[in-house]
Symmetry: C2
Subunit: 203 residues, 2 copies
């Protein structure tokens, strides 16, 4: 795609808001994550956050501008990120199949989240969220090579549609069962198989 | 769109399954609702149904075929419906903007449902679902001209992510409060303003 070379790229620090709720401004572009991680997050009047999706490198966000639809969420970087600015009039026929496939994937993930909210207990959703985040820049390894995810209990609560107090209780339960180990701003995954079983469980 | 004239159209009776869970077959088409109403529905192992979205006339479904993604839901007609079969290789550059806008809309509706599941009580979700269904072929008027929605408590439970027993209790509550009147396979909406207030409520 020849135009890609001349598209503007912007760097954001961790925790910066890229998009705010509201009607997309005329000419508002689409964004593509080149490097980093962005979360699409709804925040209610009491300040409770709910992560609607994580946007990984190669993926787009700000898609409301494509349909002129009001956005009721924020887009925020979770780590230092590089974003490509994609003006919508520049989208060519060659861009649409990939864009469409990504929207279908986002929709499928949204439906998966709805299914989890309706059919799974919080503990199972926490296990699923931790495993999903292993495939993001939030993942790391500790000194012993064990996988960990760098996030706060607040972040985890938003990812599973709960509040920090409740999630902290669940994290304690999972730690007592030997599945994870919780540290300051990070959670180490000790028993991946156990977490996978929990993540798959319906009740 | 010149090709539209030669695309195959298929009629389905109410309650027919158009798509099953599974990996889309090679060459599987996209479907567009010409007339009627389709629901995209996840069914768990115990047979509990969860409606992920309603597909209205003019809208597409079967979008997993665009991305080769496994489908874990059914697509089922809710009333007699006419569907247009859209082979994916026939999608031209002129089709993509509309298709993209629809996927963005579907995604936004999915996110709205996630927000409702996390932030609203069942009673408020029931009010929201009844109001949404007023814009579908399930809507009708009674002899006195009052708006009603033709659906069972099972359908309503699937639409709000609950089970029939619980929804029947909520329907009784809303009826006692004068918001609705429940009949065999239909619910009459008596107090639209009251339902709108409930639908908007977070807590």
């Amino acid at each position: 795609m020849s135009k890609a070379n001349i598209r503007e790229r912007v760097r954001y620090a961790a925790g910066e808001v890229v998009l705010y709720p509201g009607v997309p401004a005329p000419g508002e572009p689409l964004y593509r994550v080149v490097e980093g991680l962005v979360r699409i997050q709804y925040v209610d009047e009491e300040g409770n956050a709910l992560t609607l999706r994580f946007v990984h490198p190669g993926e787009f966000f700000g898609e409301e501008a494509l349909a002129g639809l009001e956005r009721d969420h924020f887009a925020e970087t979770m780590v230092e990120s590089e974003l490509e600015v994609v003006p919508i009039p520049e989208l060519g026929p060659e861009d649409y199949p990939a864009l469409t496939a990504q929207l279908v994937t986002a929709l499928k993930r949204g439906y998966r989240q709805i299914e989890r909210l309706v059919t799974q207990r919080l503990k199972n959703r926490v296990a699923a969220a931790l495993l999903e985040l292993l495939n993001t820049p939030l993942a790391d390894r500790d000194e012993e090579g064990r996988p960990l995810v760098r996030l706060t209990h607040d972040d985890l609560a938003a990812a599973v549609g709960s509040v920090r107090e409740t999630v902290t209780k669940i994290v304690g339960e999972l730690a007592r069962e030997g599945c994870i180990q919780s540290g300051y701003g990070k959670i180490t995954l000790l028993d991946l198989e156990g977490l996978r079983k929990l993540a798959a469980k319906k009740e």
